[in-house]
């Protein structure tokens, strides 16, 4: 928790507050981008997906703005202790949010391609995975806003769920592709979407780790539980009759 008292130099507090506000704005934008990408995917709405792709540059612009604010603050204020962690954390969290924004745009791009292909059954399971990642991302941002290390640890643990669902989906997609080669095109797109969503979960846990460091000054102790076993998955093709 940041010390309750304010800096002797008040404009220092204003600079730090500005930094936090930029992160909150970036986070809000990325959340909305992800929500709209999922919506475009489940409704097969190419127009909405197109908007998501177009709007990604707004997050990139905010990231540049934040880097500028952070570098200026480092140069002019030479922050120490929790203030230094605040600036370094803002830089890290902003690049995680920027990556999440990129992945949301990627999901939207593939949603455009999918909208032109016949629907396949796993297309309904992918948005479920995406909503899970979305939930974790939202929790991570809340932990940042409220400087809540307990919530951060909770988010950090929950990414395991995303990994497990992702592994299941991976198997399912492979099976569909083997059943009918016409499924390969849409299922490959879905596979990449699922991978992007799984990466969003990883960036959300990065944010959670940063929040813990910001508040406590130490990394979260112990290794993170990992549920992504897709690297080891093998699905045998059905035997010819």
């Amino acid at each position: 928790m940041a010390p309750a008292h304010e800096h002797i130099v008040r404009s220092f507090d204003e600079n730090l507050e500005q930094l936090r506000q930029t992160i909150v704005r970036m986070g809000g934008m990325a959340e909305s981008q992800l929500a709209r990408a999922i919506q475009a995917l489940s409704r097969r709405d190419a127009a909405l997906a197109g908007e998501v792709v177009r709007d990604d540059s707004a997050i990139d612009r905010l990231e540049h703005e934040l880097s500028h604010q952070a570098v200026t603050l480092l140069a002019l204020r030479q922050p120490m202790g929790v203030d230094l962690r605040e600036v370094v954390s803002a830089l890290k969290v902003s690049s995680d949010i920027e990556r999440i924004g990129d992945y949301a745009a990627n999901v939207a791009k593939r949603a455009i391609a999918l909208s032109q292909l016949p629907p396949v059954k796993p297309a309904y399971a992918v948005p479920r995975l995406a909503r899970l990642a979305q939930d974790i991302f939202k929790e991570a941002l809340d932990a940042y806003v409220h400087r809540d290390p307990v919530r951060a640890i909770d988010v950090w643990r929950r990414d395991e769920e995303v990994d497990e669902v992702y592994t299941g989906l991976f198997r399912e997609l492979l099976t569909y592709m083997m059943e009918d080669p016409r499924n390969i095109s849409p299922c490959t797109h879905l596979m990449f979407i699922a991978k992007n969503v799984e990466r969003i979960g990883d960036h959300a846990t990065n944010i959670a780790e940063t929040v813990h460091y910001l508040v406590k000054g130490t990394p979260i102790a112990g290794g993170r539980p990992k549920g992504d076993a897709s690297s080891f998955e093998v699905v045998e093709p059905p035997k010819e009759a």
Binding site: G81, R85, G217
Partner: protein, 270 residues
């Protein structure tokens, strides 16, 4: 051969024990008349490192520094209670020669204070009165060596007979450092050595402090937290006569444990 081997063994011993304390201070209480300026201070000063003492004005950091070479002895009404040992030897032992102690524990002050003598005499004086040099050749060697170590030799070698007070502020401060190291001290105390200097002269002194660490143990009082962060390996934070927190400089400036340290280094009070 034997000499070489023992030097090697010494180096090996020093490498094996990098955190050997040079000075151990325990339960230090200092009073100016009725007023208590330091309360129950315990601090280890690690050999061949730079220890920075930081804290707001009147926190007791300079008082503590002056305990280390008994400069408080000369202040009327000042009383020091506690145990300070340098290499295990009690420096407040009544049998101890204070003049000898101050040769082993040199001091550099806030304002450069060269003697109103030539550059040469400023450096040669200490070794001569302590009987460390005999004759001109030995004195010349000590003067050159000390000025080189203080990073001043190249700038003054052609005008050693000129007055030390005619040098720039930064050069005067390096002259005072040369003067301090001329008597081969083990510890150098610095009381805000850069507060009267411009940023370039400050950078040169800081560079010098980092070099001197190889041969001396340094304790520095500074009001500049950036300076403490830049030059020291250990930092001790004093507040209202209490040693609040001490630790690796990196830890103190990135993740201080105590609320008061946090407040001070981040500029929230002081």
């Amino acid at each position: 051969m034997e000499g070489l081997a023992s030097a090697g063994q010494m180096a090996a011993m020093q490498a094996a024990a990098p955190d050997r304390p040079k000075i151990v201070a325990r339960d230090i209480n200092v009073y100016y008349g009725e007023k208590q300026a330091l309360q129950h201070v315990d601090l280890d000063v690690i050999a061949h490192s730079v220890t920075a003492l930081i804290g707001p004005s009147g926190c007791g950091k300079s008082t503590f520094l002056r305990c280390l070479n008994r400069m408080n002895d000369v202040i009327e009404g000042c009383r020091v209670v506690g145990d300070i040992r340098m290499d295990g030897q009690d420096i407040y032992d009544p049998k101890l020669d204070v003049v000898q102690l101050r040769a082993r524990v040199g001091m550099v002050f806030q304002k450069p204070n060269p003697f109103p003598k030539s550059i040469y005499d400023n450096v040669a004086y200490g070794p001569r009165i302590h009987g460390l040099t005999r004759g001109k050749a030995e004195a010349d060697a000590v003067v050159e060596g000390s000025l080189r170590r203080a990073g001043l030799w190249e700038e003054v070698k052609d005008r050693l007979s000129e007055a030390g007070t005619g040098l720039s502020g930064g050069q005067q401060q390096r002259l005072c450092i040369a003067r301090a190291i001329a008597v081969s001290p083990e510890v150098i105390l610095m009381d805000e050595p850069c507060s009267a200097l411009d940023p370039i002269a400050t950078a040169r002194i800081e560079e010098l402090i980092d070099e001197l660490r190889a041969n001396y143990t340094i304790v520095i009082v500074t009001h500049s937290m950036q300076q403490a962060a830049r030059v020291s390996q250990k930092t001790a934070f004093f507040h209202l006569g209490i040693l609040v927190e001490t630790g690796d400089t990196e830890q103190i400036f990135t993740n201080p444990r105590d609320e008061r340290t946090q407040g001070y280094i981040t500029g929230r009070f002081g």
